[in-house]
Symmetry: C2
Subunit: 224 residues, 2 copies
């Protein structure tokens, strides 16, 4: 963001936006597991602000569906059941499919290069058997994919969906996918973009999502 020497607006984002980002990360990585109550006073203290800005930030997450509100009881981290897992991956398929179509209509070569770099990180993580890093690189891959489409709306939708995806991963930490398969499926996506082969791209993307959801929902719903 911003070449060296470029002048950027000094106006940093609002306090609510900053806090919302922090909360998103915390929820994403399981610092606040599903079902946790977000105690206002305590959180406000940790962030060093009063309850006002904190509540504004939390309302953003409610709108995103990451928190749900029970009147006069509090805000709780949304719990994801097996139906949600299906819903998340179905929605992701729709969003990322649209992103792929946009990429093919603009600059597939450039996109393939950028995605190739991210894919290299996946290969590296898989090579040393770091499953956690592999999972994170996986998310970065899809985040980059949507970002390359250049659509503000797809990007916003995808961000929330990827956070929920990460929550699923945390909840089912026990059972990761075979790293070789995972790397291979992403490789296929990069190759299809590189080749600008729309039919194959949509096919491998669909397969990738179907595999993921099948794996995640084989046994044991995260819980209700």
């Amino acid at each position: 963001m911003g070449q060296p020497g470029e002048l950027e607006p000094v106006n940093r984002e609002s306090t609510a936006a900053i806090i919302a980002d922090q909360l998103r990360s915390a929820i994403m990585y399981g610092t606040f597991p599903p079902g946790t109550q977000m105690a206002e006073a305590e959180l406000a203290g940790k962030f060093g602000v009063s309850r006002g800005p904190l509540r504004e930030a939390m309302q953003r997450l409610v709108q995103e569906g990451l928190l749900h509100s029970e009147r006069h009881r509090g805000l709780f981290v949304t719990t994801l059941d097996v139906d949600d897992v299906h819903d998340i991956y179905m929605a992701r398929t729709g969003v990322e499919r649209a992103a792929c179509l946009l990429i093919l209509r603009t600059d597939p070569k450039e996109a393939a290069e950028r995605l190739g770099e991210v894919h290299a990180r996946m290969v590296g993580a898989a090579g040393i058997g770091d499953l956690r890093a592999l999972g994170n690189a996986d998310l970065v891959f899809h985040e980059t994919l949507v970002e390359l489409a250049g659509s503000a709306r797809l990007e916003r939708m995808a961000r929330t969906l990827l956070i929920e995806t990460r929550m699923c991963m945390t909840a089912l930490e026990k059972k990761y996918r075979d790293p070789v398969d995972l790397v291979g499926e992403h490789r296929a996506i990069v190759d299809a973009i590189q080749a600008a082969d729309e039919e194959r791209l949509l096919e491998v993307l669909d397969a990738h999502m179907a595999d993921a959801v099948a794996r995640l929902s084989t046994d044991a719903a995260p819980e209700s």
Copy 2:
């Protein structure tokens, strides 16, 4: 919502949610045209609440992308340029396509019936030449389409996109589409669902969206 006799939770939704709904409607129907500043004190007075809950509600709309914040200056209704129109319809295509796939996998007959009822309203509005009612029925049609898919996430995405669609319609009020075409395209969607013909359904949906965006962006971007 709720059969007669059904007991519903007395707990109404949070104040922020109620205000957010009202603001959404107001933005949707042009009460606050794009670029308008949302004066906190004045709005709080109109809603009969203090600035706290109002700010919480507005943060939800910021998250949705309907408002954007300029620090220490205020919140403004987002203005949509011609690129946004393309982006909105592209995203809608992705979301509604996914919704169509879900409907075909569950109960197309039931869905076709529900959509047929909404379509009848479009026919009625077109018959008496009420373009405003026709436009609203158009939105209800697509809202219902996504609702029938039964996906909370698609529904949330679609709601925001349809509000933005309505904003475009208001901004370009001069130039409506040919009512006959509009009714016909929606009829084709209902028929394809009824027939459970996936290939044809996706085709007519794509065509419907492409037509709309082409019509909206022929001349005169709403403004920058």
